[in-house]
């Protein structure tokens, strides 16, 4: 399968890249990184120039199509932009022609763009994931946070429910953890507004933290580098602003998979988080080897 990491996975979302590659390999899923890929343009491109927002992702899709490969995309925002380009080309011969002129390549949208969460939950499959678990995430109560572009608009995302998605919850369950029921799993985290309009974004983040904590979550699982950044990097700032007492480590769902598959935390990038996840993992005895636990018992 072709792999489009996107800009964040080389920078602020580096743990996602590390853990995604590790667990994919562990599951026998071969990821071929699209050579010389370019930025998808994110919201900045489509809210500035509609064609630019379609042509930038189309160039990457065209490179993967040449190899006859579907594309796995770990970032929710990149996924949304790539899928929008794919559908624009598939639905309109005129648009296809325009985009091909823009990128000076042939792109027929014969391949499919899939979110990495969809690939793991539905192509690899929950049973295969469960079979690989050697260190179950017992006692870990996780709020699966999907955010917006992973499941919306439903016409674009197409792989899970737009209001109550369950794929990440099912993966957490397969890993031996406990997905919590909570109300903010698809609320927007504020995206780039945490930088550009922090006053507007702060209450959005606070609501997400508060609702997860109120429903008993110990931590979050996410599938988007921007969601991760906002939840992990901004948490101490929001806690201070609202005098809130929660402390909720944030994990990429691939990091949780890696932990349950027996990988060491640093081999998944867990040492790079702002909210240190180690005390929580220690308290749940998740990192201790099963045999050590047996001896004590």
């Amino acid at each position: 399968m072709a792999y489009y990491p996107g800009c964040s996975l080389n920078a602020t979302g580096i743990e996602y890249n590390i853990s995604a590659k590790a667990v994919a390999k562990h599951l026998g899923l071969e990821l071929w990184e699209i050579p010389d890929w370019n930025c998808c343009g994110a919201s900045a491109a489509h809210s500035t120039n509609h064609l630019l927002g379609l042509a930038l992702p189309a160039r990457n899709l065209a490179i993967a199509e040449k190899e006859g490969l579907d594309v796995a995309v770990p970032c929710a925002a990149c996924f949304s932009r790539m899928k929008a380009a794919e559908m624009a080309v598939r639905q309109s011969p005129d648009m296809k022609q325009t985009i091909n002129e823009l990128i000076e390549m042939t792109y027929n949208a014969t391949n499919h763009t899939r979110n990495l969460l969809d690939v793991m939950a539905n192509a690899v499959g929950i049973e295969t994931i469960a079979e690989k678990v050697v260190k179950p995430l017992s006692g870990l109560k996780v709020a699966a946070y999907y955010g917006c572009l992973l499941v919306r608009p439903p016409e674009i995302a197409q792989f899970d429910d737009a209001e109550n998605p369950m794929s990440m919850d099912r993966i957490i369950e397969a890993l031996g953890g406990t997905p919590v029921e909570w109300s903010f799993k698809v609320e927007c985290c504020g995206a780039g507004h945490t930088t550009a309009l922090p006053e507007a974004a702060a209450p959005m983040l606070h609501n997400i933290f508060r609702n997860a904590a109120e429903n008993g979550a110990d931590c979050f699982a996410v599938a988007c580098p921007l969601c991760f950044l906002n939840l992990d990097m901004r948490q101490s700032e929001i806690k201070k602003k609202y005098s809130a007492g929660y402390n909720l480590p944030v994990f990429y769902f691939t990091e949780l998979m890696g932990l349950a598959f027996g990988y060491a935390p640093k081999d998944l990038g867990l040492n790079k988080h702002f909210v240190n996840p180690m005390p929580l993992l220690d308290s749940k005895e998740i990192l201790r080897h099963p045999s050590a636990r047996r001896e004590e018992a």
Binding site: C39, S43, A44, S47, L102, C148, E163, T195
Partner: protein
């Protein structure tokens, strides 16, 4: 309350509405003002007009008022409204089209949002990929908040989550061409 000469406003906005439909695929007549979009919008408290009000204003021909609204810059395109709309009105796309047009007319009601996307795109155009650290440094410089998030930088640098150097791709020129052509093709006014 202000008086609105409806027939004049509607006849004057006819062309605008037709072009808006072309740019966004949204027919503003589809909206029956149920208010579900505004009820679920996570950014409504930061908006001057609620999403359903923006649509109502368009239905009443108040084009200028809509193009001067902060709301079209505040929308984060999270698509909660679109997913829930009983009439499948693609509001994020409408907001996007309105914002593009407002910018063309030089009406920029949230300068930081505009600056953020401009700098993001500058980075993509220059290197082919976003250079996160360079973009944020420019953003702080140009928005006059020199030390915004500065306390986060040491941890990000230590963990190699940001790099002082951009990652350039070989296809930089191909990307620059895409920018130039898209710009040349997208100059149409509403």
């Amino acid at each position: 309350m202000e008086r609105l000469e409806l027939s004049t406003a509607l006849s004057q906005s006819r062309q605008f509405v037709a072009n808006l439909k072309k740019a966004s695929q949204v027919d503003i007549r589809d909206c029956y003002q149920c208010g579900k979009c505004s009820a679920g919008c996570p950014l409504v408290s930061a908006m001057d007009y609620n999403p359903h009000q923006i649509l109502r204003m368009l239905q009443l021909g108040q084009v200028d008022k809509v193009l001067h609204a902060k709301s079209i810059w505040v929308c984060a395109h999270c698509a909660t409204c679109f997913a829930r709309c009983p009439k499948e009105v693609d509001l994020p796309r409408l907001m996007e089209a309105l914002r593009i047009e407002a910018k063309k007319r030089g009406i920029i009601k949230e300068k930081t949002v505009d600056l953020f996307s401009d700098l993001f795109l500058d980075s993509v155009q220059k290197y082919g990929r976003v250079h996160e650290m360079g973009m944020i440094a420019f953003y702080n410089l140009k928005s006059g908040q020199l030390f915004k998030d500065a306390m986060l930088a040491p941890t990000l640098l230590a963990n190699r989550k940001i790099s002082p150097f951009p990652h350039k791709i070989q296809g930089q020129q191909a990307v620059q061409k895409i920018f130039a052509k898209a710009k040349a093709m997208g100059g149409e006014r509403l």
